[in-house]
């Protein structure tokens, strides 16, 4: 039996097409004959399988994204400068990320 599964743009959540039988990626284009077949299938009263939803990123993943914006060498440099100058730039930067992305 033919199956159609909706597919989403994972970044916008917008439906962008359907996947037929797990193989054929069909766009929502009225000129595409596979899409026309899908519309006929819908008209027969069939329902597509819901789309896979991308999992929400965890707090650790979101923080890691921010941490990775500075290289390890750059962070060592910040710590060295803080030690020499008596500043807290590296700790402040870390605290800022933790405050912006609190644990859930």
């Amino acid at each position: 039996m033919t199956t159609y599964k909706l597919t989403l743009n994972p970044q916008t959540g917008e439906a962008i097409g359907v996947c037929k039988d797990g193989v054929f990626g069909i766009p929502f284009d009225p000129a595409n004959t596979d899409y026309q077949e899908y519309l006929a299938w819908l008209a027969e009263g069939n329902t597509p399988i819901p789309a896979d939803i991308p999992p929400e990123p965890t707090c650790q993943e979101l923080r890691a994204t921010e941490y990775n914006l500075k290289s390890t060498g750059e962070q060592f440099g910040m710590m060295f400068d803080d030690r020499v100058n008596g500043t807290t730039a590296w700790v402040d930067w870390q605290d800022g990320i933790k405050a912006a992305i609190p644990k859930i």
């Binding site: 599964k5 597919t7 193989v23 069909i26 595409n32």
Partner: protein
Amino acid sequence: MAASLDGTNGLTFNDNTRMGTANSLGTRNILFNADFRINQRAYVSAATLAAGAYGHDRFKAGASGGDYSFTQLASSTQVTIASGKSLIQVVEDKNVVGGSYVLSWTGTALARVGVNSATPSGTFVVSPLLITGQTAGTTMSVEFNAGTLNTAQLELGTVATPFERRPIGLELALCQRYYYKEPASAYHMAILDGSADFPSAFVYHPVEMRATPTTVFESLLRFDYNSGSASANFTPSGGTTAYVGNARLGVSRKNSISNAPASSNAQRNGQWDVQLSFSTEL
């Protein structure tokens, strides 16, 4: 006499070939791959070809299937359509100017046509076949039944002219508007986005396709990317395919892979060894 000109046959050359109208000049044949030189899907001689499935480029099986046999040549290749089977080619509406057409071919197969977007119907007849009443901007379909077939030509006018032989590069480009398959192990610029479950491969089609194409992942191989401190890779598996793109530039995506690397939410660039095929067949 080198040539003659009269009001009935138009221009007749000394080898008895004729030009019936000025339409005989230039690109005449609106059938593509009509001498079976291009076989991107690698259809195997005498294999089962289910109704609606494609064999050589632009030719699909009729309602009862389309099995046929052949010995592939570099030049024109005759095919033999099996008993009870048929092959159909649908001509895109944008290539149909309307009026009278003539269909000619070599071989023992018989043909029938469907005009004005209809599927072929009626009695199969011998070559040449005169077609009238075709409306501009609607599809035409030709269907060949059991027998041998080669050098089919569908052209404007009422007089069948010699088969138009096009360069292989041109013929391939004409076919790629409707279907093409990448070489095996083709590297694509690619990204991992979101939670790294959704790798996308960027594609630039060799010619503008008829519509936004249906995409198939023919093979799924390694995705190489930089993890931030070192290179890494994984091989996607499972999940389903999806596609977003347009007729010229596509971004193909394989959704919800089952073994994505654990990672941060950062988007990563890489290269993806994947073979894709694209179809906008009619």
